[in-house]
């Protein structure tokens, strides 16, 4: 034991200075869900299957839907992404989602104007 312990003096530490050193999750990590309103057909299957009632879908116009996902409630199970028949919801690997305000955890993905032709939500989702 003594030798191993002394040996680790010369090893690189296993820990990192986390918020200062960057850390990322593996590719298949289930992080924050992202919603692409241009594809949504409003079937609301995701709402039915969500175990924590984190999703709300509201109709904002003809065949236009926007979703708001409460990250404080979300359990990151990715069931919504699986249930969705149009693959509207995608799971990203983002995991640093902490906020000091509960309200900002609720993210609304606004519908893009039809002419916008901006399929992915490159615009920063609004935090309501």
């Amino acid at each position: 034991m003594v030798l191993t312990v002394l040996g680790s003096l010369f090893k690189k530490p296993a820990t990192i200075k986390y918020p200062f050193a960057s850390f990322s999750m593996p590719d298949h990590f289930r992080g924050q869900p992202k919603f692409d309103s241009s594809k949504c057909i409003g079937c609301r299957l995701c709402i039915r299957d969500c175990p924590s009632q984190a999703i709300t879908i509201t109709k904002v116009g003809d065949r236009k839907f926007e979703a708001s996902i409460d990250l404080g409630k979300c359990v990151y199970c990715a069931q919504c992404a699986e249930t969705c028949p149009r693959k509207v919801i995608e799971i990203s690997t983002d995991f640093e989602l902490a906020q000091t305000d509960r309200g900002t955890l609720k993210i609304t993905f606004h519908a893009q104007p039809a002419s916008g032709a901006c399929p992915d939500d490159s615009a920063e989702p609004a935090r309501t």
Binding site: H28, F29, V75
Partner: protein, 410 residues
Amino acid sequence: MSEVEHIVQIPVGPQHPMLKEPESFMIDLRGEKIDAVRMRFGYNHRGIEKGCEQRTYTQDLYLVERVCGICSYSHSTAFVQAVEEIAGLEIPPRARYIRTLVAELERIHSHLLWLGVAGHEIGFDTLLMYTWRDREQVMILLAELTGNRVNYGLNTLGGVRRDITAEQMPSILKVVNALEERTKYYIEVAQTEETLRQRLAGVGKLSKEDAARLGAVGPTARASGVDRDTRRDDPYAAYADVSFKVITDQHCDVFGRTLVRVGELMESYSIIRQLLKKIPEGPILVKAPRKIPEGEAVSRYEAPRGEDVHYVRGNGTDKPERVKVRAPTLANTQAVAKMLEDGYLADLPIVIAAIDPCFSCTDRMIGIKNPGKGERRTMSWEEVSRYGVDFYKRKGIDPSRINLRGGSAA
């Protein structure tokens, strides 16, 4: 001297550095010796069984998984097995293999975690740091395979949600090989380190008869010589296809429990190698109906901590009629009182830790919050919060801007 018995009563829990989860042990001490222990459980009740009745089977999968953080896969698999039995679903062989693989990976991470916690409880933090460092490999592997470090969300009715790709297999083997080396080292440490042995050997004795009588399960029972392992006795998933030894030990103490756990680690590595060699090609999922027919089933599962029993009763709708969860720790708590008899206060942490308690598994039922029952005054959550805010305001900091409640934001 007077006849007065000098008994000191010390509360260990509901909040105590020894416990990672809230439970209460009231200890009567005579000097350093334990005179009596009164246990009170239930601080972690969250209404999961009731919640299950109010949700669909799909939603329940994720709720049941959250019965416990460490053996999450055990609960989810035990539940899904029971539901599949009611629905008469035969899951594809590849899915069975993947379930077994993840179950064994979970056992590895859980046992390594335990080894570290045991080290910490006896003030041997170096062991904690080393085992948890090694455990990190398996956590990252699990995140890669399933999508998360705990609460894997891998199971679904009729199979698993993610396949294991051919590229992932070598990385699994790499982790298994690396961890096998480390485990051999820990076995050596457990057997040669003098202070470690002194603190573990002869502590928390539980005879074979007591273990059987009090219904101990898992490594706790096996370390007392009770040869009981659901993986072998009542094989589920792909356990019938692999060969492994059921590790038992005759020490009947914490030292024996340590040996059983590190022994099981070695068995897990061998099981994983066999699984990777034998894993069949094919689909990973069969279509499951949303509505599960009437019927009932019991599913047994050997979680890292012991046997996990789930009872599910379906009523023909998409919501279960009744879900009952018996977590291994609940069965083992009865043995703890026996183990603590005549022990030292100093041994209390390690004895309790030795059953690898998981109290959130144990108390899954109803969550209500105790209105802060101070003896002199009662403070509601609002009052406490207001008191805290005022306190910091007096110091010139205004935390009231921090919105803890949601709703309207700044």
